[in-house]
């Protein structure tokens, strides 16, 4: 049974906790922030001699840990999201010890985020102390005017949460990525996804080439041979010619079947004929378990996005069929207010699905990443599983 508390005690609980958090914040801003600031300044100053270079990594990484704590705190206590601005660590595995040390030193001090962290450390000393301790300070000040004490005692804690919030915004100013670093992080992501796209499309082309080469082309060559033989035999041995021709007809059917399945893998004809809506419905009809499609799609959807989402949904179906032991599937696709095409594939299977590198879900993730899309999997053990796929579609 849940105990519901009424009255002043429960109303005060949140504000009192926030007051306590303010005290922790004030303490750490001073007790951790100030020494870290001094250490950072000294390591920079002594970087002309070896000791400063040696101390740079531990000190600056310490600064970053403290700044990361503040970023998490801002989100947890005040709901203010501060993204991490740091550049990627260079790969120094192949370098000698001295070169590695110098590269790390350069990586840390050349990152504007480091300088902003250090500036934040010192600005945060007054900001953290004042904003963290304001409610407590008010109470202590009120003892000079004794009649006010009870009111202040009750009201001051209610200031604690707004104070923490103001402090979170202050931190966000210095600890967020600058427009420039956000941009360069974005370029990093794009470079990464672009190279994945190039790799996967090259692999795809290789697969198609191999399928055509070993399959259709070889069979058609054999077909030509059979027909040629039949042509020669037709007068001397009509029975053998007919047998050859019958064989040739049969293998032409096999070639066509092969080409059909190849075409389906490149672009399912029904997608070209009926768009995403019809293609998903047609796909749903071919699965061995019932599928309920709920589709609410804009038209037209640009062809590349349509095909990416189709294959993602198809892969999610295949994945559910293979691993979940589900007896029903659901798929809902719609455009949300952020101009995102959202596809959710649900199954009532055993759950416990996760994205493992190289697995089916990872394949979907990469497919979507090429279009700036995302994949999330919600799959508690015991099910049910929901795979959510999102693709931005500005022109939808």
């Amino acid at each position: 049974m849940r105990i519901v508390r009424f009255g002043p005690i429960s109303a005060m609980r949140g504000p009192l906790a926030a007051t306590g958090r303010g005290a922790v914040l004030a303490f750490l801003s001073l007790a951790a922030g100030l020494p870290l600031f001094i250490a950072a300044v000294l390591t920079l100053a002594y970087s002309t001699i070896v000791i400063g270079v040696l101390l740079t990594p531990p000190v600056i990484l310490g600064v970053r840990r403290f700044a990361d704590w503040e970023r998490r705190r801002a989100l947890k206590w005040s709901g203010v999201r501060i993204a991490s601005p740091y550049r990627r660590r260079p790969d120094t595995a192949a370098d000698g010890a001295l070169v590695a040390l110098l590269r790390i030193w350069w990586w840390l001090w050349s990152d504007p985020a480091t300088w902003r962290d250090v500036a934040w450390l010192i600005a945060n000393v007054p900001a953290g102390v004042v904003l963290g301790l304001l409610p407590i300070d008010l109470v202590s000040q009120s003892f000079r005017y004794l009649p006010l004490v009870p009111f202040v005692l009750v009201l001051a804690p209610f200031l604690a949460r707004p104070c923490l919030r103001v402090h979170a915004y202050f931190s966000a100013m210095l600890l967020s990525p600058t427009a420039r670093s956000a941009l360069s992080a974005r370029v990093g992501v794009l470079t990464q996804t672009r190279s994945e796209v190039l790799d996967s499309s090259a692999a795809e082309l290789r697969r198609i080439e191999r399928d055509l080469h070993d399959g259709a082309q070889a069979r058609i060559a054999a077909l030509g041979l059979d027909i040629g033989l039949a042509e020669q035999l037709v007068y001397q041995d009509p029975d053998a010619a007919v047998a050859l021709l019958a064989g040739a007809r049969e293998s032409s059917g096999q070639v066509l079947a092969e080409l059909r399945s190849l075409v389906r893998g490149i672009l399912p004809p029904v997608l070209a004929e009926r768009g995403l809506d019809g293609a998903i419905r047609a796909l749903a009809l071919t699965l061995p378990i019932p599928v309920e499609p709920e589709l609410d799609l804009p038209t037209p959807i640009p062809a590349p996005i349509e095909s990416a989402l189709y294959f993602a949904v198809a892969e999610a179906f295949a994945n559910a069929l293979k691993h979940s032991g589900a007896t029903r599937l659901g798929v809902r696709v719609s455009l949300d207010e952020r101009a995102m095409l959202v596809a959710k594939v649900r199954d009532d299977g055993r759950g416990g699905a996760y994205v493992s590198p190289g697995g089916g879900l990872d394949g979907i993730r990469r497919r979507l990443a090429a279009f700036d899309g995302a994949l999330t999997v919600h799959s508690p053990v015991g099910g049910p599983t929901t795979v959510t796929m999102e693709l931005p579609c500005a022109s939808c």
Binding site: G253, V263, V270, A272, E273, R281, A282, L285, T286, P288
Partner: protein
């Protein structure tokens, strides 16, 4: 037998005309586009139409939509649809009005000339001719889906599947390796289990297949 043909690839169109003419059918119109097909169907009212799904101008599924449209204006107009690929979705749309006179085959099947002509005649006669691949998709998608068909035995399912392809009792018997008498016994059981009364005799075969293919 008067036939309207819709096929945009010249080679295949000429081949089909030659083939149908050789089997004493009269190709009254051979068209290339969806709109031309619709008007040809409505003016000629052929005994059967042989139609490619994908036609100009959009190269999507114009042939199919024209066929469905024509059948809604002339109920029961026999149409045999040909395609490079088969989709259960399309089969369902063709069968939606619950009448026979519908065929849906892969283009490859044309190469088996005798069976293809048999299928054209079947459709003209109000039967159904479904491609084995459609039937296979259906079987894959069936499991625990259909209640009414659950009462059928495995053998009766097999018989019905071959019937759906538009084959005669003799052909069913040959395919399954049983006697024709056994086949007609199975078929009678199917009719009983699907509540198809003898009064609708001519139609029962088509109705059973439709019941089987629908959904």
């Amino acid at each position: 037998m008067r036939v309207v043909l819709a096929e945009d690839q010249a080679l295949l169109r000429d081949g089909l005309i030659r083939l149908l003419t050789a089997y004493e059918m009269d190709v009254v119109a051979a068209v290339e586009t969806g709109p031309d097909l619709l008007s040809a169907l409505l003016t000629h009212r052929p005994d059967v139409a042989v139609v490619d799904v994908r036609l100009p101008p959009t190269f999507t599924n114009e042939g199919l939509t024209a066929a469905v449209e024509a059948r809604s204006r002339i109920p029961g107009l026999p149409i045999l649809v040909l395609s490079q690929h088969v989709e259960r979705l399309y089969a369902r749309e063709l069968l939606a009005e619950g009448r026979g006179g519908v065929g849906y085959l892969l283009k490859d099947r044309v190469s088996d000339v005798r069976r293809f002509v048999e299928a054209v005649r079947d459709v003209a006669g109000g039967g159904t001719a479904m491609d084995p691949e459609v039937v296979a998709q259906l079987l894959a998608g069936r499991r625990n889906r259909e209640r009414a068909l659950e009462r059928l035995t495995t053998r009766e399912h097999e018989v019905l599947a071959v019937m759906a392809e538009g084959r005669t009792n003799a052909a069913v018997a040959a395919r399954l390796g049983v006697t024709e008498k056994a086949v007609s016994k199975h078929i009678n059981n199917i009719f009983t289990k699907l509540d198809l009364l003898p009064a609708e005799d001519d139609h029962r075969r088509v109705l059973a297949v439709l019941r089987y293919l629908d959904l």
